[in-house]
């Protein structure tokens, strides 16, 4: 790189000297000598490389440029020779500078990889390379340090910035038993972590590998461009020879050689893709390759798999209606009664109680489960009963009409309702639901803003739940009570209607429909390799925040690719017309060629800064 800059500087200086001597009316010999020297300085490496590759019977752009420059010197066009080689060297210097920036997006990500880990070996704390930690070994991570492995917390608690994985910098609480990822940063507490995965096997390692591979995956447009240039270059060489025989103009033939390599065209697609995928990777969005970037730019319909995407996928206490009792007391009694139950409704109640009840919740006496109906228990000498109406009917407890009415209303909203009684007196109704995520409504709105025409939900849940969620989130449609194969059929039907469908799921239960859709998007995939493998686009964070960003980015990338391709094709034909019309010669041909490549690169670089969604 430095050497390139030196070559460009010296060659440029010599050209300056040449023009200066010309201006001062010195002997023209000085001008000619300076120009030839400039051409030699800028071109000798190009010529060496051309010679080496020619030995392997490969015709490279270097060879074409060398022939053009040497030819120009032979016919006495010293300035043209100097300009062609100088512009070629300067252009490729600038190109590698700017392309380097696009590559840096990934390199920045790689720099987040942890280097060192602190472990205890032979009773002593030791710092070793992160890859050398052994599975099952415990590593120590102090505040401010990077977590070096994938594993689980065995001691301590802290907040961890998981931006390296999820793209979100809001810290996440980690306690004993919680999963932590390599590359994330321990903010404020001391942690001991039992190692599960090391080095390339970690989620972070996988991301890097995937991103690298994704950038190499060739998009359909790119393949087309490469095929075109494969024929274009030999075609131009042939044209150069033919035109010499017809017109006898060496200058024309040499100029044709200079424009024989459609650089802007070749680079137009891959550079946009690298920038797009790089931007995504920094934001916790893994795009599997250029093909998917192009495809998802065309998506106009989004289908959600409800459980775990639009909703959190776990039951939560929604409403608590009490009768002559405080909410806290009801929750305390209910949580104690459910202490030994692992039912998902019981878990929801206990979770809510943990947050609101101050006193300790301990195991009750005389606990009894009535499968499919509820539980009974004795607490503080009182008989507590929690369950559905079947349990109450069985136990002969009457439900008053006004309570029954409230219960029915909640159930119509698609919620599950449990009744709580103390000594045969009903004290509360607790409604439990799998709530939509807090920002699901805004996400749906934003998706519309980035160009999605229709947002629908395909769910295994019952009609009532599906309807209430669809209404609450203002969806354009829903289908309920679907089995995985029904979801596949639904996606196929939408596709037949002419929609380009993206399916959003957790990537585990909904694999068939993710594969069927034009684009499969898995979310919350940090730590689940299967989801990353199945999906075309993966959102590492377990929330919807990055979904509009991912779609918006794809659309922007798609537009960017189109702009680049159209521009590059126009340049190719304009140059060809200019050369054949004798308007463009060696130096100006090279100038336009190099400029067009730079413009294409700069346009693609805008994708690195894409940030609106």
């Amino acid at each position: 790189m430095k050497k390139k800059l030196k070559i460009v500087t010296i060659s440029g200086f010599l050209i300056g000297v040449g023009w200066l001597s010309n201006l001062l009316n010195f002997n023209p010999l000085i001008f000619d000598t300076a120009m030839v020297a400039a051409a030699v300085v800028a071109g000798y490496q190009v010529a060496i490389s051309a010679y080496n590759t020619l030995k392997m019977k490969v015709i490279s752009i270097n060879l074409l440029v060398t022939i053009a420059a040497v030819g120009a010197v032979i016919i006495g066009e010293y300035w043209e020779a100097a300009a062609v080689t100088f512009l070629f060297a300067f252009g490729s210097y600038l190109e590698s500078r700017t392309v380097g920036k696009a590559r840096d997006a990934i390199r920045d990500l790689m720099d987040l990889a942890p280097n060192l880990a602190t472990v205890i070996r032979e009773g002593e704390e030791k710092e070793i390379a992160a890859e050398e930690v052994e599975v099952e070994e415990v590593v120590i991570v102090r505040p401010g340090e990077k977590i070096p492995v994938d594993g689980r917390v065995v001691k301590g608690k802290s907040e961890v910035n998981q931006a390296a994985i999820t793209g979100e910098s809001v810290p996440v609480r980690k306690e004993i038993g919680d999963e932590v990822f390599s590359g994330t940063i321990n903010k404020n507490g001391y942690l001991e972590i039992k190692t599960e995965k090391v080095g390339d096997d970690t989620t972070f390692g996988k991301i890097i590998e995937l991103v690298e591979e994704a950038q190499e995956e060739k998009a359909p447009t790119q393949k087309l461009m490469e095929r075109f240039s494969k024929y274009y270059t030999p075609g131009i060489i042939l044209l150069s020879i033919i035109s010499y025989f017809f017109s006898g103009s060496v200058r024309l033939s040499l100029t044709l050689l200079v424009i024989g390599c459609p650089g802007a065209l070749v680079i137009s697609t891959p550079i946009s893709i690298v920038a797009g995928i790089g931007n995504g990777a920094k934001n916790g969005i893994l795009i599997k390759g250029g093909e998917y970037l192009e495809k998802s730019g065309e998506i106009d319909m989004l289908a959600f798999d409800k459980t775990g995407t639009l909703s959190k996928g776990e039951a939560e206490v929604d409403q608590l209606i009490t009768y002559d009792k405080s909410e806290a007391e009801v929750l305390r009694l209910a949580a104690i009664a459910e202490f030994n139950s692992e039912h998902h409704l019981a878990r929801a109640i206990k979770k809510k109680a943990e947050k609101t009840v101050k006193t300790e919740i301990k195991s009750p006496v005389a606990f009894e489960t009535h499968t499919g109906k509820g539980v009974t228990a004795q607490i503080d000498g009182k008989e507590i009963m929690i369950g559905n109406s079947r349990l109450f009917k069985e136990q002969g407890i009457e439900i008053k009409p006004e309570i029954e009415e409230q219960k029915n209303r909640l159930e119509e909203e698609g919620k599950t309702v449990v009744i709580v009684a103390e000594n045969d007196q009903i004290i509360a109704l607790i409604s439990i639901a799998d709530r939509p995520r807090e920002n699901a409504y805004q996400i749906v709105e934003k998706l519309k803003q980035v160009g999605i025409k229709k947002v629908v939900m395909l769910t295994g849940d019952n009609e009532r739940i599906a309807e209430s969620v669809a209404n609450e989130l203002n969806l354009d449609g829903y289908r309920a009570e679907l089995l995985p194969e029904d979801k596949v059929k639904a996606v196929e039907e939408y596709q037949k209607e002419g929609y380009k469908v993206a399916m959003v799921g957790d990537g585990i239960n909904d694999t068939p429909s993710l594969v069927t859709a034009d684009i499969g998007i898995a979310m919350g995939a940090a730590g689940t390799d299967a989801a990353i493998d199945t999906a075309d686009i993966t959102l590492m964070a377990d929330n919807l925040n990055k979904l509009p960003y991912a779609i918006g980015l794809s659309k922007a990338a798609n537009r960017n690719i189109k702009q680049n391709v159209v521009f590059a094709v126009l340049v190719v034909f304009a140059l060809l017309a200019g050369v054949l019309g004798q308007k463009v010669f060696l130096a100006s041909g090279m100038l336009v060629h190099e400029l067009s490549v730079l413009i294409v690169i700069f346009n693609a670089m805008r994708l690195l800064r894409y940030d609106a969604a």
Binding site: M1, K4, Q45, I48, S49, N52, T53, K55, M56, K57, V58, S60, I61, N62, S92, Y93, E95, S96, V99, G100, A102, R103, I106, E212, Q215, E216, C261, G263, V266, I267, P270, I271, I273, V274
Partner: protein
Amino acid sequence: MKKIKLYLEELSCPDCANKVEMVLNKTEGVKKADVHYTTSKANVEYDPDKIDISGLKKAVAKTGYKVEKTK
């Protein structure tokens, strides 16, 4: 057949990638090579009986580029 990733020093033009790719593909013992301009990386499938890693590096060197690391 063995597969290897060659990380090259930064390729300076898209055509350079094509050049390295063609040279590698014409090298004895290389079954298939694809070189990516955007990542400056060559994925090579080769016959270890006919060519070794240093042979691959030499082939790349002919095009004027160095192999920085292999994997």
